[in-house]
């Protein structure tokens, strides 16, 4: 049931993404409206799927009442659900339908790769994860990752717009996308909102580590990479806020920051470490 629902949610997300791309090239508000509806159904389906996952996860008494995000499948589906829900909320309020094409690929890729490569089986939590912190620390961090994913989409839109104007052959797209400076501001505002969440999440991880292993910070690859991500975005925020440096250079820095987010989430599992908890990968 859980898998069937997740697959259905994936289908809805993919359809919504297709509509978002159509909307990019054909001005018809119908596309945007249907995109939003499909997204809504997808979010509902995936929430239900996550509910089923929670149910089967809690059949193991030790897992009660922790979130099932200890495996790749669980983490990826939570992450894509968070991105989709955040986008649904933002889109529903601000109707920035045009940005759908830049944001929706993330939940589609996230849920898709979970369905294709990750093992959906639930298993018992290892003792170190049996702490209320598992409901806080990873959730807080993944929420910030979801926001950074959105900011990355905005950054992409900015580069597209920049290219449009630079080319001297602006297409329909140019008039549909928000202006360079607006996208620049949006990128900044999302990052400014998500960065405190990231850093507080890292500090919470330190508190958990102190309670579980007796050290606040241990330069484990995962925590180190989270710190690197925070440093890169801190550099971006300083460029923007203090240096008042905007434009492409700042966008590139924020994109490097997102690359670091992806590496923290996925790549670090190839470097051994204490955070190699995510199980059931390829």
């Amino acid at each position: 049931m859980e898998l069937a629902l997740a697959k259905a949610a994936f289908a809805f997300y993919a359809a919504a993404m297709a509509l978002a791309f159509l909307y990019l090239f054909y001005k018809d508000d119908k596309w945007s409206l249907w995109m939003l509806r499909l997204m809504g159904v997808g979010v509902l389906l995936q929430s239900a799927s996550f509910g089923f996952r929670m149910h089967s996860f809690w059949l193991i008494p030790e897992n009660r009442y922790f979130l099932p995000i200890n495996s790749f499948f669980g983490a990826l589906s939570y992450l894509s659900l968070a991105v989709a829900a955040v986008f649904y909320f933002v889109e529903g309020r601000h109707r920035l339908g045009i940005l759908g094409a830049f944001v929706l690929p993330w939940p589609v890729i996230g849920l898709g790769s979970a369905l294709i490569w990750a093992d959906p089986k639930t298993s018992g939590l290892v003792p170190a994860l049996q702490s209320y912190w598992i409901n806080i620390h990873p959730v807080v961090l993944m929420t910030s990752y979801a926001a950074f994913g959105n900011a990355f989409g905005v950054g992409l839109a900015l580069l597209v717009q920049e290219h449009q104007i630079k080319s001297r052959k602006p297409s329909e797209l140019c008039y549909r996308l928000p202006s360079i400076e607006e996208l620049d501001d949006l990128n900044y505002h999302i990052i400014a909102a998500a960065w405190p969440v990231l850093t507080v999440g890292i500090i919470m991880g330190g508190v958990w580590a102190y309670n579980a292993w007796g050290r606040f910070w241990g330069w484990d690859p995962k925590e180190t990479w989270a710190l690197i991500t925070a440093l890169i975005y801190a550099g971006y925020l300083h460029m923007r806020y203090v240096g008042r440096l905007r434009g492409k250079k700042a966008i590139y820095v924020s994109m490097v920051g997102f690359a670091s987010v992806v590496f923290t989430f996925l790549g670090v599992n190839f470097l051994s470490g204490l955070h190699a908890y995510l199980s059931g990968g390829a």
Partner: protein, 495 residues
């Protein structure tokens, strides 16, 4: 003093600090790619074996213990130093942010008065001027009341030659956000420094039923009376493990507790964590089944096999049996996932054979020759029926006097970032002028000219909508109309 400041200009420059942060980020990334001695000494040795020349270079740079190398510490210290310097001496980029020390300077005072002039107000990124019928004597109070109702905090009221003026603010604590955040970072680094100087961590593996001294406090001993591990049904994945721990000083009991993962024993700030566990090579007894009859064997004690001329001895156990590439027995981990026991058979005094038998694979038997190499043997007439291994409990012992400082820094960080990023500081300068000058009476009943300048910490665009609605409210409440309305949000996008 001025000269000294200039000398420090490099360290006060944001650009330089961004580079310092970048250097820390790159160094930290390198540390995750090169094996680290404190984490995995074995990997470091392997690396050194394969890349001798590179290792020499890495060793020189301190790459094998990068995070504790002097230069990395130096970078962190430099960052802390720069932050303190920047925050104490730099003029804040946003003129409305308090400077430290937070008393308002004379210049700031002068600027404030200057900014009340209508001309200066027009220089604000958000501004509006409107004329209204409300008599001068009521207008300022009415305007103040409206702003109060909108959640504004009314600060100062001045009487200027041309009229009266006041300042209104919202979310004023936002201006402390940047300081709090940066100070929090320094506090956290300070906590780490305290730990580095006075704190310690050590791993004490204690066999069940025995004790070991704490190296950093030699008079203390940790006893593990019982160690228990439980598995998820049908798997070899532990669901929990715990130790009954006693801490003694000489013969005196200091503390006792059953410790779990995430639930340590705390004695005078020294904490004992259940960090890991495993099986060494020790066991209490094994059960060997020969011809349907079981015999109990203690470790390294040869026993005669009833009815046979042989004696047998169980001399070694590997908890997670695996074969090395050159064909020797080894263990993949310390968890008893694939336990195997080596039995030596004696005929008289001569050792005849060494056989490996497995708990999980009763049909498999491996023969070990004198060089320690393995080869397959036909299924034996006996089988390994049970093992009672002696487990060790890995007890991480840590003393971190800096933790409270770090935790305080963390809370400060939370407050600082919330102030800085989630509050939206807004400031309105309002100047009310009578349109008719003359006698006092005439002025009091005169219609007014109201100039409003706005500042928002998130920039004019983010504040424009609210600013406009305030101006519209002024228009309706004071029965006026905008003379110049140059706020930013009232232009429609072109289709």
């Amino acid at each position: 003093m001025l000269k000294y400041r200039n000398k420090m200009a490099l360290f006060r420059s944001i650009r330089f600090n961004i580079y310092v942060g970048l250097a820390i980020a790159i160094a930290a990334a390198v540390g995750t790619l090169v094996p680290q001695t404190p984490e995995s000494p074995a990997n470091v040795e392997t690396f050194q074996l394969h890349h001798p020349a590179l290792s020499h270079f890495y060793h020189f740079l301190g790459f094998f213990d990068l995070y504790h190398s002097p230069w990395f510490m130096g970078l962190l210290a430099l960052m802390a130093f720069d932050i303190v310097l920047c925050k104490l001496w730099n003029r804040p980029p946003d003129p409305d942010v308090v400077s430290l020390p937070p008393e308002e300077t004379k210049e700031a005072e002068a600027e404030k008065h200057l900014s009340m002039k209508a001309e200066a107000l027009r220089l604000k990124p958000l501004k509006a001027v409107l004329v209204a019928k409300t008599p001068y004597r009521e207008a300022a109070a009415k305007a103040r009341e409206m702003l109060r109702a909108r959640g504004y905090h009314l600060r100062e009221e001045f009487s200027l030659p041309q009229g009266s003026a006041f300042l209104a603010t919202r979310h004023r604590p936002q201006r402390w956000g940047s300081y709090t955040t940066h100070i929090a970072l320094v506090v956290i680094l300070l906590g780490a420094l305290i730990k580095g100087v006075w704190g310690f961590t050590e791993m004490i593996p204690v066999l069940e039923g025995s004790s070991r001294a704490v190296q950093n406090i030699p008079q203390w001993s940790v006893h593990v009376d019982h160690f228990r591990v439980r598995y998820y049904p049908g798997t070899m994945n532990p669901s929990s493990y715990e130790s009954d721990v006693r801490l003694t000083d000489g013969g005196k009991l200091l503390a006792a507790k059953t410790i779990h993962v995430n639930d340590p024993l705390d004695y005078q700030g020294v904490r004992f964590y259940q960090a890991s566990w495993g099986a060494g090579g020790m066991f209490r007894k094994v059960l060997l089944e020969i011809g349907g009859k079981a015999m109990e064997l203690a470790q390294r004690r040869a026993e005669a096999i009833p009815g046979l001329p042989f004696r047998v001895e169980a001399d070694m156990m590997l908890p997670d049996f695996t074969i090395t590439p050159d064909g020797r027995p080894d263990t993949a981990s310390l968890e008893p996932k694939n336990p195997a026991v080596r039995f030596a058979f004696f005929l008289g005094k001569n050792k005849t054979r060494a056989l490996w038998l497995f708990m999980n694979f009763p049909k498999v038997c491996l023969v070990e020759d004198e060089d320690g190499r393995l080869s397959h043997a036909p299924p034996p007439p006996f089988r390994l029926a049970g093992i009672e291994p002696i487990l060790f409990s890995g007890i991480q012992t840590a003393y971190d006097p800096g933790y409270k400082v770090v935790a305080a820094g963390g809370i400060l960080w939370l407050c600082g970032t919330v102030l800085l990023f989630y509050l939206h500081r807004r400031r309105l300068w309002v100047l009310v002028e009578p349109r008719r000058k003359g006698s006092k009476e005439e002025m009091e009943s005169s219609p007014i000219r109201l100039s409003v300048g706005g500042f928002g910490s998130r920039g004019p665009k983010a504040y424009a909508a609210e600013f406009d609605s305030i101006i519209r409210a002024f228009e309706t409440e004071l029965s006026g109309h905008a003379e110049i309305q140059e706020s930013r949000n009232n232009i429609q996008e072109v289709v």
